[in-house]
Amino acid sequence: MSTRLATGGRLIDRTRPLGFSFDGARLRGYAGDTLASALLANDRMLVGRSFKYHRPRGILASGAEEPNALLGLGTGARFEPNVRATQQPLFEGATATSQNAWPSLAFDIGILNDLAARLLPAGFYYKTFIHPRPFWKHLFEPVIRRAAGLGRAPREADADRYEQLYAFADVLVAGGGVAGIAAALAAAATGARVILAEQTAHWGGRAPVDGDRIDGQAAAEWVAAALARLGAMPNVTLLPRTMVAGVYDHGYVLAEETLADDPAPGHARRRLWRIRARRIIAATGAIERPLAFAGNDRPGVMLASAVRDYVVNWAVSPGDRTVIVTNNDDAYRTALALLDAGLAVPAILDARPEATGALPAALRARGVRVEAGRAVARVLGRGRVRAVQTCLQAGEGAVIDEIPCEAVAMSGGWSPVVHLWSHCGGKLRWDEGRAMFAPDPARPPTGADGAAMVIAAGAASGALHATDCLRDGHEAGRRAAAEGGSMPPEAASPAEAPHAEAPAEAPLMPVWRMPQGAGVRLAAKMWLDFQNDVKVSDVELAAREGYQSVEHAKRYTTLGMATDQGKTSNINGLAVLAGAIDAPIPAVGTTTFRPPYTPVVIGTLAGEARGAVFQPLRRTPIHGWHEARGAHWEPVGQWRRPYCFPQGGESHADAVRREVLAVRNAVGLLDASTLGKILVKGPDAGRFLDMLYTGVMSTLPVGKCRYGLMCNENGFLSDDGVVARLSEDTFLCHTTSGGADRIHGWMEDWLQCEWWDWKVYTANLTEQYAQIAVVGPKARAVLEGLGGIDVSAEAFPFMAWVEGTLGGIPARIYRISFSGELSYEIAVPAARGLELWERLMDAAAPHGATPYGTEALHVLRAEKGFIMIGDETDGTVTPQDLNLGWAISKKKADYLGKRGQERSFLTHPDRWRLVGLETLDGSVLPDGAYAVAEGTNANGQRNTQGRVTSTYFSPTLGRGIAMGLIARGPERMGEVVGFPTLDGRVVQARICDPVFYDKAGEKQNV
């Protein structure tokens, strides 16, 4: 069993015991433990079930590469799935739960999957359960969904707080191992701004565990002294517990810092760093590879480096007897650590033909049985390791002997962590001698200056041995500071690299399959990807079925997918694929490395942008009044506009009906402040607007208004609104509420990039004015109640504007109408908008004083057949389609969209054009319904001949009214067309004039 040793553990504080729970059991650990080390100290060897077969899974690793020990942490609104136990520091009261184990971890239904493993080969998603269809839907899918999947999503909104910070650095060092520290020291000595980020809470990486000496000191002492020096430098920022997640274009880096595991109320849990760095040093170390032998996924089989970490860092024994199996010298350090802790190493199985280096010699000297040319034939034990059977690595697996043990420490060599190098396109080279992909310095990711923006350093660059690693880190730091710092090159640190003393190591021997001649029976138990349950046999099957590209094989087998991203499995899988298709490994290549390096909590990415501050909310000056009157809101862009003002339990539909009738019969008030208002001024303003609008604006007299349409260069309608000429060289262009910013940008684009010699100035004044529409037969009486401006029909005709003082407030009034009623739109400085609104409401009191919302506005305009951008238009509709030819100048040589509209298919007589639609039964047509035609199209679907664009119940007419686009519509007045509904009925509607009310326009001419 795994236990806590009586002494040792460089990271734990035995004076601070902590309580936590795992699957409901109360357990104890120490401050400094990770969840993984605390679980192992409590003999919790079994921590999860595998994704596909639900095989028992134990802890494999000690860091970010852990594929198995993914746990649920916390409860309720603070629950987080897929937490890596190896990276999560223990804290008091931590509540951890296992995943993928229904109904329980110890015994679960998924084990049947293992027995039925023949049914779940590579590509099982694609072939096994698809036929017969009903079996999939009713039998396989529900069971698989229930029993599989990586954790479960939290059900409540995240209760924690997150924050974000921007930072800038000359040199960002990712990785606080000794290479990263040496790089930071060298760079910081020049005065460069340096950020040093380390994903764990501890500095120094593997060096303190491996027992190396640096500059004559124990590695841990050297690290502590170096950190003290860095911490004292004002140009250095140290970020422990900060995982550099991704490198993006031009030195942009995202990093996630963990601030607290169990934050106090109101305190942030994590922080997203958005860093712009001129040079990035990827000192991200290396990850040990598993060996592929039968039963390598049994709980108790661990990476050799992890066994060493648990013993040295956390005083955790994986078991009394640990067999080491390796193809390199480094794993012998694990044997030394175990012996030093008083534990037994029954054998070291070294796959190499001979093991004669300094480290093997040291172990032999201590009496350990070292067997060269030997391999693991299979691991015995089901829920955990009981023994290993040995065989010859060169053979086919004939068992030589059986060694009882509780743990197996395996090492297949090391792979540099090349993720940060690769995120922005850095290329890799295959190092044949050491059987690894390492960054190719000749093909780096480049930045804005065209030079390498990422420099790999230490083990991440392939410098695995401590001596090389420190020198490499030091040189990277000097180079990054010279290139990215603001100091002259001669200021670069001249200091010598720190020197590490460590035993020399003999070369490894690549081992992709153990033993090398193992047949299918053994290969089917050799795991490559522990998280996604991919075995040697799966990759070989994929290759046989034709998935020979590495990207295809990855997706077919799921190798290296999900949260793991192939950290432990990538190279082994590639090598097996290369063997299966008889190609050299570099020819197979790697899959793409994508950010994030390890998963980032979504809350960190969202930061404070959630709830009420998710995006800005735009409020009109009258917003508060609407809110106090219980307005039902409609979002319009970032504005909120009242949809209607329900009174005393009234339904929304009833409120809209009442508001429409109030406008038609008396007077209503609309807050139109959101309407876009763009000032266009200058000697060439008229010429410019003649290009922008389809009609002529340059001839508009001062004091008058004109309706205008804007198209894009394709000829399609983009926006509409009323233009008022304020003076000889000044126009005010009204746009739709949602279009103001876009149209202002459109104007600026043409002025800056095409007609830059035209003398025109534009300003978006949308928020400078409040605008209120007073609409209805009593509108004039309301304005007269305020007084100050002559609003008589004679003095102030339709489509004119006047300026003056209305009830003591400086105002500009436009006599325009979007309802067909007598209508005045009054613009006043925004600060006086609420005052004007309240004065108007008082003046309108004798007539009912009805505020109305956007829905009544829509009904009123639809009754008059007025189009609405976004309803009648969708980016494929021309003004001609909407019978708006009267607003298009025939005389102008050019306007934006004119050439586009001349194209043959836009002038085709069969185009769908605007008409009114009245249902034969008076009902309201469904919005967006299609009119069907005879016959079917090439896909066997009914042909269509039009669609509904606006549809409402008209309170004025007491029936449904609609507008729509119908093929050759205006030529087909009186014809009846059918609109199928979702419930299978067909609604019949007659094509008619889209002006349903007051066709002669008498109501606004009073």
């Binding site: 274009d249 031009h250 930045g447 940008g745 830059w756 050019d894 194209r903």
Partner: protein, 107 residues
């Protein structure tokens, strides 16, 4: 995420401050243009792996448009320059040639 220096205000702007505007130095074809010319103006866009000229607007900064010459493969930025340029200025071309000696110009 790119950083481009706005030549109008001098700010080295993050891509989040900028709005992309597509290919630069297009010639507008209006009424009277042939169908082929109009089609090319509306729809045909260069998409080179390599040196490219683009329109950008410093949308969340000074609001002005500018042009950028950069390499879409290496992300190297050769120059940013005023939007009021019918063709890349000589200084911009020289900056590109200094970095890409064999470059033969816009196709």
């Amino acid at each position: 995420m790119l950083t481009l220096t706005c030549p109008n205000c001098g700010v080295a702007a993050d891509e989040t401050e900028l709005a992309p505007g597509g290919e630069a130095h297009l010639k507008r074809f209006g009424p009277g243009a042939s169908d082929d010319d109009f089609e090319a103006y509306m729809f045909a866009r260069a998409n080179p792996k390599g040196i490219h000229f683009e329109r950008w607007r410093h949308a969340y900064g000074c609001g002005k448009w500018f042009l950028a010459a950069r390499c879409t493969a290496t992300l190297e930025v050769f120059a940013t320059y005023p939007a009021q340029s019918a063709a890349p200025p000589e200084a911009v071309l020289a900056a590109i040639r200094a970095r890409r000696p064999g470059w033969e110009g816009r196709s």
